[in-house]
C-alpha cells in the first residue's frame, strides 16, 4: 500500500528534523486574558494590539477550494479505505451512513438495501431539474435470540439545522410511519486560515471527504456525546442592554460607542448586536460600538454586552459621526440597563430571538424551515460551540470566535455541518424480523458552477457500509432507480447502466462506495 511505503519513507527523513520535532517547546498563547470562570468552561480572549473589527458578515468557509483528484472509473477491488477513491468536491454533502443501535452488543444481524432514485425534480417554473436523489435506505433486522427485543434504532445523516426541513429522513417500521426524537452531534468540521498560510483559524473548514466523517465517528464518542446531556452554562453574568436609541438625522452612520477599561485577567466581555470594537491589550481599554438604529426605540435584535467575571465600571458613552469612531458628535444617546442573569439565560434569549425574528430574513429561511429546527437541539448546539471552539474553549478557541461575538456563535450553530441522528424505537419479536426504512432527499456533492473546475456539473454521492454502526450486516445491496436521465462518470459500486445492471451486491469489507453522475444533456 502506498501510504505504508510513504510511512516508511518518512522514517528516513533527515535526523535533525526528527530531533527538532522530538521535544518541541510549548508555545504559550501570547495574550491569555481570561481565567476559568466556571467548572465547565475556560474563557480565553486573544486580542491584537489596538485592533478594530467591523461586522462584515464574517468569513465564509466552503470546504476544500481545490478540485480533487480522481483515480478513474471501474470497480475498486482494493478494500483499503482511501479518500482518493472519488472526487474531492468543493461542496461535500456527506455520505449515506448505516443504521446503528443505541444498545451495544445487540447481536442482531441485519440486511441493508440502499436505493438512489434519480427521478428528476422540477424548478419553480416546472421545468425538469436533475439535481440530487431520493434515497431509500432499507434494513431488515432479525432477532435471532429467544426473547423479544426492544431496541432504539439511530439513523445518522449529515446536515445542519438550517437545512433540516429538506434533509430530515422519514421512517417507516414494517410499512407504518414512525416517529422518534432527533439528536444532533457537534460541528463536524474544523477551521482553516483566511488565505494566508499562518496556521490561523479564521475560516470554517467543513468536512470534504468521507474520511473526515470516519475520523469523527470511528470511536463512537461523537454519538455518545450527541446522546448525552447538554452543557450547562450557569455562570452568573452582568448584562448591559442598550435601548432607546437616538441620533441626529443628518448622519447616515451615526454610531454609539461605549468605552471602559477592564482587568483582562478577571473580566470577559461578549457582545451581541454590536458592529465594531477596539481594544488595547496593554491597558485593558475597550470600546464597543453600533450604528444607531435611528428612530427605533428597541432594535429587533437586542444589543447586549455580556460581562463574565469582574463587572465593568466607569464606562463612557460617546456618539460618533460613523463607525470609525474618530469624530465625536452630539445628540447620540441610548438607555443602558444592567441586568443580572446567567449565561444560559442570555443564550436562551438570543436563540429564541434568532428563531423568532432573525433567521427568516438573514438566511432566507421560510416559516417551515424555521419550524423544522428543534429549539432545544439548536440551543444545545450553541452551548456546545461556545465550549468547543467559541469564547469558552480556552486554548481551543478558534480565531473566528476570539472577539466574543455571540452573533457569530448563534448564527453559525444554525448553519454548521453536523451529523444528526433520527431515533426510532423498534420491537422485534423473538425469532422474528422487522423492516425499517428511511427515506430522504440527498443533495449531491458538487463543484461550484463559477469555479471553472472540470467537475462542474458532476454530482457525487457517497456511501459508507459500516462506519459508526454496531449492526452485524449479513448483506448489503445498492440499487439505482429512474437512472434514464443520468450518466455514470465514476463509481466503485459496479453499476452498468448500458447493460442494465442497476442493482449490485456490496462488499462489506469496502468501507466506502462512491457514485458520480452527470445528467444527460
Amino acid at each position: 500500500m502506498k501510504a505504508e511505503r510513504l510511512f516508511r519513507v518518512l522514517g528516513l527523513v533527515d535526523e535533525d528534523l526528527i530531533e527538532e520535532a522530538a521535544s518541541p517547546a510549548v508555545r504559550q498563547r501570547k495574550f491569555p486574558l481570561w481565567k476559568v470562570l466556571t467548572a465547565a468552561a475556560c474563557l480565553t480572549l486573544v486580542c491584537g494590539f489596538s485592533l478594530t473589527w467591523l461586522v462584515t458578515g464574517g468569513f465564509q468557509g466552503m470546504g476544500s477550494s481545490a478540485p480533487g483528484e480522481t483515480s478513474g472509473s471501474g470497480i475498486v477491488t482494493d478494500n483499503e479505505p482511501s479518500s482518493e477513491e472519488g472526487t474531492t468536491f468543493m461542496s461535500y454533502a456527506g455520505p449515506v451512513f448505516p443504521l446503528t443501535l443505541a444498545e451495544e452488543n445487540s447481536g442482531l444481524p441485519a440486511k441493508r438495501t440502499t436505493t438512489w432514485d434519480f427521478a428528476p425534480g422540477t424548478y419553480q417554473d416546472g421545468t425538469p431539474r436533475q439535481w440530487g436523489a431520493a434515497v431509500t435506505d432499507r434494513y431488515t433486522v432479525v432477532n435471532i435470540t429467544e426473547s423479544d427485543q426492544t431496541v432504539t434504532a439511530l439513523y445518522p445523516f449529515a446536515g445542519s439545522f438550517r437545512n433540516l426541513a429538506s434533509q430530515r429522513p422519514t421512517v417507516t417500521v414494517d410499512g407504518e410511519e414512525a416517529e422518534g426524537p432527533l439528536y444532533a452531534g457537534a460541528y463536524a468540521g474544523g477551521f482553516r486560515d483566511a488565505g494566508v498560510d499562518d496556521g490561523s483559524t479564521w475560516n470554517l473548514q467543513y468536512p470534504d471527504s468521507w474520511m473526515d466523517y470516519k475520523a469523527l465517528l470511528d470511536d463512537g464518542s461523537y454519538l455518545n456525546e450527541a446522546l448525552g446531556d447538554g452543557l450547562v452554562l450557569d455562570t452568573p453574568v452582568a448584562v448591559y442592554e442598550f435601548t432607546d436609541f437616538t441620533a441626529p438625522a443628518n448622519y447616515d452612520a451615526a454610531t454609539q460607542a461605549i468605552a471602559f477599561t477592564i482587568d483582562q485577567e478577571k473580566t470577559t466581555v461578549l457582545t451581541y448586536g454590536f458592529n465594531g470594537a477596539s481594544w488595547d491589550e496593554d491597558t485593558g481599554w475597550r470600546q464597543y460600538s453600533y450604528f444607531v438604529p435611528n428612530g427605533i426605540r428597541r432594535d429587533k435584535d437586542p444589543k447586549l454586552l455580556v460581562v463574565l467575571g469582574d463587572d465593568i465600571k466607569d464606562y463612557a458613552l460617546d456618539g460618533y459621526e460613523n463607525g470609525g469612531c474618530e469624530k465625536e458628535i452630539d445628540g447620540v444617546s441610548c438607555t443602558v440597563t444592567r441586568l443580572q442573569m446567567t449565561l444560559d439565560q442570555v443564550l436562551d434569549l438570543l436563540c429564541r430571538n434568532y428563531l423568532e425574528t432573525y433567521a427568516d430574513w438573514q438566511y432566507g429561511m421560510d416559516t417551515d424551515e424555521v419550524a423544522a429546527v428543534p429549539d432545544a437541539l439548536f440551543r444545545r448546539a450553541v452551548n456546545e460551540l461556545m465550549v468547543q471552539y467559541g469564547p469558552l474553549a480556552g486554548d481551543n478557541t478558534a480565531d473566528r470566535y476570539d472577539s466574543g461575538r455571540l452573533d457569530d456563535i448563534v448564527s453559525e450553530a444554525m448553519s454548521m455541518d453536523r451529523v444528526l441522528y433520527l431515533a426510532v424505537s423498534v420491537n422485534i419479536p423473538a425469532g422474528g424480523q422487522v423492516d425499517i426504512t428511511f427515506t430522504m432527499w440527498k443533495e449531491p456533492s458538487f463543484d461550484f458552477g463559477c469555479s471553472g473546475s472540470e467537475n462542474v456539473g458532476l454530482q457525487g454521492y457517497d456511501f459508507v457500509t459500516q462506519l459508526g454502526s454496531n449492526l452485524d450486516f449479513t448483506g448489503q445491496r445498492a440499487a439505482l432507480a429512474n437512472a434514464d436521465n443520468i450518466q455514470i462518470q465514476r463509481q466503485n459500486f459496479g453499476f452498468d447502466l448500458e447493460k442494465g445492471v442497476t442493482e449490485v451486491t456490496l462488499n462489506p469489507e469496502i468501507a466506502h462506495y462512491y457514485l458520480e453522475i452527470r445528467p444527460n444533456e
Binding site: K2, A3, R8, G11, L17, R27, Q28
Partner: protein
Amino acid sequence: MEDSDIIELYWQRDQSAIAETSEKYGGFLWNIAWNVLRSHGDAEECVNDTYLRTWNAIPPARPSAFRAWLGRITRNLSLDRWKQSRAEKRGGDGMEVLLGELDQCVPAPHGTEQALEDREIAGLISAFLRTLPQELRIMFLRRYWYGEDLADIAVKLGCGQGKVKSSLFRTRKALRAYLEKEGVSL
C-alpha cells in the same frame, strides 16, 4: 550517560548498553510503538526487539543521531507488527487512520514519474519539510513520524486541536503537490 558512551558500550559488547539505552530512551521508544500499535504488549515487544536489533547492528554501525536512529527501528518494527496484527484482525485502527491521512499525500500517477529509492524520496521530503514554518514541520513529524494523536500534539505545541488538524490537512495537500511536481511515484 552520553549517547556516544552508550554506543561505546555496544562496541565493547557490554550488555549494560541495553540497560542504559532502555533507561534513557525506553519511554521515548515505547511511545512511538504505542502510537502505532495501541497495545501495551505489542509495544513492549517492539521496544525489546529494538534493543536486539541495536545490539546486532552496533558494531559495525556508529549512529550519529542515536535517538532518531533508535526511533526509526522501533517505528519500522511497529509498522510490521501492526500489519501482522491487522492480518490477524486484532490490531487497533489508529494506524489505519494515520495511513488514511497519508494517502492524501500520495501523488497521483501521471506516467512520467521516477521510481526513486526510499532514501531519495525521503531526501525530497526533508527538503520539502525545510520549506515549512517550523511549527507546521513539527506538527507534521509528530503526527506522521511519531504517530502522535492530534490532542497530544496540540498540548505539546500549546495550541488547539482544530489548528493541528487544519495545519496537517494543508501540509498533506502541499506535500502531495510537491511530490507530484517532483515526479515522484510511490
